[in-house]
């Protein structure tokens, strides 16, 4: 099984030189820690920052400089600030190459739910609906099952949808899955995890073909 850090590390392998990337709150944020030294990736934070740097030192701390998770951050050489309309212009026009975000549920058509549990929890969609409607590539980082042990990879969503047919890849604590017209195609297994474990934890249509390799970092 993968830790949250390992999920982030595996997703970082999907980054390519020159990518503009938006990282959601939670596990996705950790992806920034594993960007290979050999490539240049620019992080977009939808509250109005392109070229997001690491967390500040005590001396650098600035209440006016935060990321979309409301964490204090820093700039880098070449960073730029802008307003929210400009930020979502970048997103809607497809200039953000990759979006990594968390999910409560994903179905085997690539629909995602991650903003509301009716009657229980309402946090809002924030920028997620804009991002999933327009990003070139969307990767979901999440645990394979919820706290009750139920699958989060379904054939039909039970929660209100955030976006339709948008998720292309899912990295969970158990495996790497590509979402294709055929369903959840199992691509890689976490170390120590067998095909049966993934089958049992996946409620949606799972496609398993040939030998499934172990995740390499």
């Amino acid at each position: 099984m993968l830790t949250k850090e390992q999920i982030a590390k595996r997703i970082a392998r999907e980054l390519k030189d020159g990518y503009y990337v938006n990282l959601g709150i939670g596990i996705p944020t950790l992806v920034a820690n594993y960007v290979p030294d050999t490539i240049n990736v620019t992080l977009q934070s939808e509250n109005g920052l392109l070229g997001m740097g690491p967390f500040p030192s005590e001396d650098e701390l600035d209440a006016d400089l935060i990321n979309a998770g409301k964490q204090t951050v820093t700039t880098l050489p070449g960073s730029v600030f802008f307003d929210s309309a400009t930020s979502f212009a970048m997103i809607r026009s497809g200039r953000v190459d990759l979006t990594v975000l968390g999910a409560m549920e994903v179905n085997d058509q690539g629909d995602i739910a991650n903003w509301k549990i009716p009657g229980k929890m309402v946090k809002g969609m924030g920028g997620a609906m804009d991002l999933v409607a327009s990003a070139q590539q969307i990767i979901v980082a999440m645990q394979h099952t919820n706290k009750a042990g139920e699958s989060k990879l379904l054939s039909k969503l039970t929660l209100p949808v955030t976006g339709l047919g948008c998720v292309k890849k899912i990295v969970t604590n158990l495996c790497v899955i590509d979402v294709t017209p055929r369903g959840f195609e199992l691509r890689e297994l976490a170390p120590g995890v067998g095909v049966e474990t993934v089958k049992n934890a996946t409620a949606g249509k799972l496609v398993i073909e040939g030998e499934i390799p172990e995740i390499q970092f």
């Binding site: 967390f55 030192s57 700039t75 307003d83 946090k123 969609m125 920028g127 804009d130």
Partner: protein, 229 residues
């Protein structure tokens, strides 16, 4: 055309029970702290507030929620505010949640004389219910309309007495679009200077959009997630 007012109490004059307000800021970053305090003090009720977030329980718009002055919130993310979530789930507070980019664009459209626009965000979700949809270039879009707001209340870093504004870092966020979108726009700034002192090349909000301006005091600038390297 005298825009300078002495303080927040004077700036919010005219805001009545039932008014619709836009309030700038993302989380607690770039919020009009002085005007929010003045609104709490004024006791004005049944407000409709358009703001990306609802503050936290004891700061920002959270203060207006605590005192039950808000009838309706229009926001994109309210996760940091337990009182908000409680009022929402019990039905005390009316809430319209919108995608963040749609929220920004509905402000921008209002300020730009554009009555409506089409966006892909939210297509196929419950926020598209009752909205016109249309296909362009094989993709589905929903129609969203410009906001109508009696007042826009924004926070800038520097401003001049004509009303030109400059924002700092990510405290800019929704402030520039909201500044354009209010029937009456109120700006509070950390530093108020004379015309000519701001470089015209670096002004974010042109003075024409601003009706009232004052230099705020005692900015707390509370940090929500203090993260240190």
């Amino acid at each position: 055309m005298h825009k300078v007012v002495q303080n927040a109490d004077e700036a919010i004059r005219g805001i009545q029970d039932g008014s619709t307000l836009m309030l700038g800021g993302f989380g607690l970053c770039g919020i009009p702290e002085n005007c929010i305090s003045a609104l709490v003090k004024s006791g004005v009720k049944n407000l409709t507030c358009i703001s990306n977030n609802a503050g936290v329980d004891d700061f920002g718009i959270g203060l207006l929620l605590q005192s039950k002055q808000v009838k309706k919130m229009i926001s994109s993310y309210v996760g940091e505010n337990a009182e908000f979530e409680r009022q929402l789930l019990t039905g005390e507070l009316e809430v319209e949640l919108l995608p963040q980019g749609t929220l920004a664009e509905r402000c921008r459209a209002a300020g730009a004389g554009i009555p409506a626009f089409f966006t892909p965000a939210g297509y196929g979700t419950e926020i598209a219910e009752g909205k016109e949809t249309r296909e362009f270039h094989d993709k589905q879009y929903i129609m969203e309309t410009a906001f109508e707001s009696d007042y826009a209340i924004v926070k800038a870093w520097k401003g001049d007495t004509d009303g030109n504004l400059i924002y700092k870092a990510t405290a800019r966020n929704f402030n520039p679009m909201m500044a354009m979108a209010g029937k009456i726009t109120i700006a509070e700034v950390e530093e108020l200077v004379e015309p000519g002192e701001l470089d015209p090349n670096f002004i974010h909000t042109p003075s024409i959009f601003v009706n009232r301006i004052f230099q705020g005091t005692h900015y707390e600038k509370r940090i929500e997630q203090r993260t240190i390297r």
